[in-house]
Point group: C2
Chain length 407, copies 2
């Protein structure tokens, strides 16, 4: 039951019905391909004639194509299968992180076309833009056979204003109010979209086309890495909030008297469960301690810690188990406040999931208000799926499939 905003609404025009049904047809083809016109009409509960017209419009725009004839099920004429036309169109996803920047080429459906490449991140945004532009151009030359590039999606660990194309604040990069989209778009001559990486991860799950997982229209992605990023999807739409800063669950406190967090406050969830927090716990060090570290602890990663825990190091296991418990307590807050159908968890900690799952789920049950909440689905997203890069790609590819704005 949505209220119509009397100051910002969309009147239905003569072509609005067609626009809506066209997008529904496109999405059904995307979700069920290969599919015939007749099946499409049945799914949409319209006459075959209407489905045919919608299909011919999509065909003329090269959004879909007719493939081979399918096998007749029983008697009757064989159906012509329809497919999303992701041939000769590609999208480039860019994931800028504090240490390295990653690149990926996919087709319109998000299918990986090349290998993930990466280079060291130069924190001077001008230099980085040039480097990015050079490498993207090179990729498009190297993979000439993949066709024209529809656009570039860029994902940044920090606050972003996608409308203005600016990075408002990215602490780990040391960026404040940096213009990123327009310089890159100018250098490449391609449309560029930018977004926060936590939100992008949520988008990646929403727009996934994996056949084994049905995307959820109400979900939260929690990325546990150097920091904790979260993205929230409500009613199939990314929750942006007034200033595109919605979803910062990482800085909701577990204990306001807790350890100091990088954001300046104390006791943030992030200060309990980030990789840095876990390592600090292992080394018995204060999270805010910036003194030079000894050789071991300077290069030691959470993956190393998990390896030790699996090898039987009780101290390592204790550190990880603590993180697991705090992770679950924080997830309970997300469940209590948003009641999502599913929570996705990404980041290095997921490699220890088999170790920590019972502890996480126990902590979730401990603090969720209802039994329902305690049984909320938790899905692990391994790093190999590159959720940030896939989210970056979705920034470019998804608008073609999105629902039209109406009423």
């Amino acid at each position: 039951m949505r209220k119509i905003n009397p100051h910002d609404f969309k009147v239905a025009r003569r072509g609005t019905s067609r626009e809506i049904n066209r997008q529904i047809a496109l999405n059904l083809i995307r979700a069920h391909q290969p599919i015939s016109r007749a099946d499409l009409a049945r799914l949409m509960n319209v006459r075959r004639g209407v489905a045919s017209l919608l299909v011919s419009e999509l065909l003329s725009e090269s959004l879909i194509f007719e493939g081979a004839l399918g096998e007749a099920v029983g008697r009757g004429r064989r159906p012509t299968f329809l497919y999303i036309d992701s041939r000769q169109r590609c999208v480039i996803g860019v994931d800028i992180r504090a240490s390295r920047t990653y690149l990926l080429v996919t087709d319109l459906m998000g299918k990986q076309l090349g290998v993930v490449s990466s280079f060291q991140t130069n924190k001077d945004s001008n230099v980085l833009t040039q480097e990015l532009s050079r490498r993207i151009k090179q990729i498009l030359i190297d993979y000439k056979e993949i066709g024209v590039c529809e656009g570039v999606g860029v994902v940044v660990p920090g606050m972003v204003d996608p409308a203005l194309g600016r990075v408002l604040h990215a602490p780990t990069l040391g960026w404040r109010d940096v213009s990123l989209r327009d310089p890159l778009a100018a250098a490449l001559g391609l449309p560029v979209h930018i977004e926060n990486s936590g939100k992008a991860c949520a988008l990646a799950q929403l727009w996934t086309t994996r056949s084994d997982v049905v995307a959820s229209a109400n979900s939260v992605f929690v990325s546990v890495s150097d920091g904790v990023g979260t993205g929230v999807v409500v009613n199939g739409e990314l929750l942006r909030g007034r200033h595109n800063t919605a979803g910062e669950f990482g800085h909701v406190p577990l204990s306001i008297d807790g350890p100091r967090c990088s954001c300046g406050a104390t006791g943030c969830w992030e200060a309990y469960v980030s990789n840095l927090a876990t390592l600090s716990r292992y080394f018995g060090r204060d999270l805010a301690d910036t003194r030079p570290r000894d050789a071991e602890s300077a290069t030691f990663t959470v993956e190393d810690l998990i390896a030790r825990a699996r090898a039987g190091d009780a101290k390592a296991l204790a550190a990880i188990n603590s993180t697991a418990r705090y992770l679950g307590l924080g997830l309970a807050s997300i469940i209590n406040s948003l009641d999502p159908a599913r929570i996705y968890i990404g980041g290095e900690i997921t490699t220890a999931w088999s170790l920590i799952e019972p502890i996480v789920r126990g902590a979730v049950r401990e603090r969720t208000l209802t039994e329902f909440g305690g049984t909320t689905e938790i899905h692990i997203v391994p790093a190999e799926e590159h959720p940030r890069l896939r989210g970056a790609v979705a920034l470019v590819a998804a608008p073609a499939f999105a629902a039209p704005m109406v009423a």
Copy 2:
């Protein structure tokens, strides 16, 4: 950019455009009444002919009516003003609280028609249903001139399943899986809607027709009373979540090692800022302490405490100031996680707003990640506006104005 759910979508039919535009017209009349057909056409950016047809449809359904002619602005024919037809239709709102149950009659626009009446809540739901039914019937007899009753909205402090019409869990009433809607509807012969009271408060603000406040499509209502209830509105729609339990920010922790909360967990926001928490702080008592109290503290209310604080009682002021600080810290979590355009605060604590506002705002700024967040609008909703009752009424009245489901 919303994703179309390929398993649950609404195809545009022949009448869909009309349906959309009809609702837009109705909402514009609601928001701008009195308004002429010509002005409506200008607002909608359609021809007067189209607006005229939409209006005649609304007229024939008695949703609106033609009033007196307006004054001509310059030359030309005088416009006929259109109004929402709230004559001869009324709605009844019911607010069930632990101690008393409140009743209110309004017209379709939510305008109060009678006085708010109340009676002691009988926690046996069967007895309460009978009592409610009796009183509602009596009201409809007493106020015969207000016309037919369109329905009854009931608001309960607890978890509700509006689809099934059941109260799943209401701790203060001692209810667990109580069927409320159907027995009441059967007894009255009227449609009945039930909802959680925090969500209803948010609805009340969303659907308000007060001319001095423009409703916000992204807001959070925080009700600070015996407990802390919250309702979240995203994109003009109530955030329900998977099990209609979204919005329980009251049980997000400030400190997991904090005081025990009524929910069984420790350190919930509610355990810091509820009226009980404030009073316990004043009396130096543990929140969970259920031992018999002395005569004074058994009947002493937060209003009394605020009166003492205003009169110069330093200890009372200190207790309230602590609550104010914790309130702000919790609001910061809401802002960080949802980034709403506006936060509404209701409950007894609002009577002390002039005392505590600087402290609340300071605490908000202390923990919000961005400057934007620190300046989020905070509106006080005084008890005289009866947000819960108005929300109950909105449950019945709003569907007539809601946007049609499309795509």
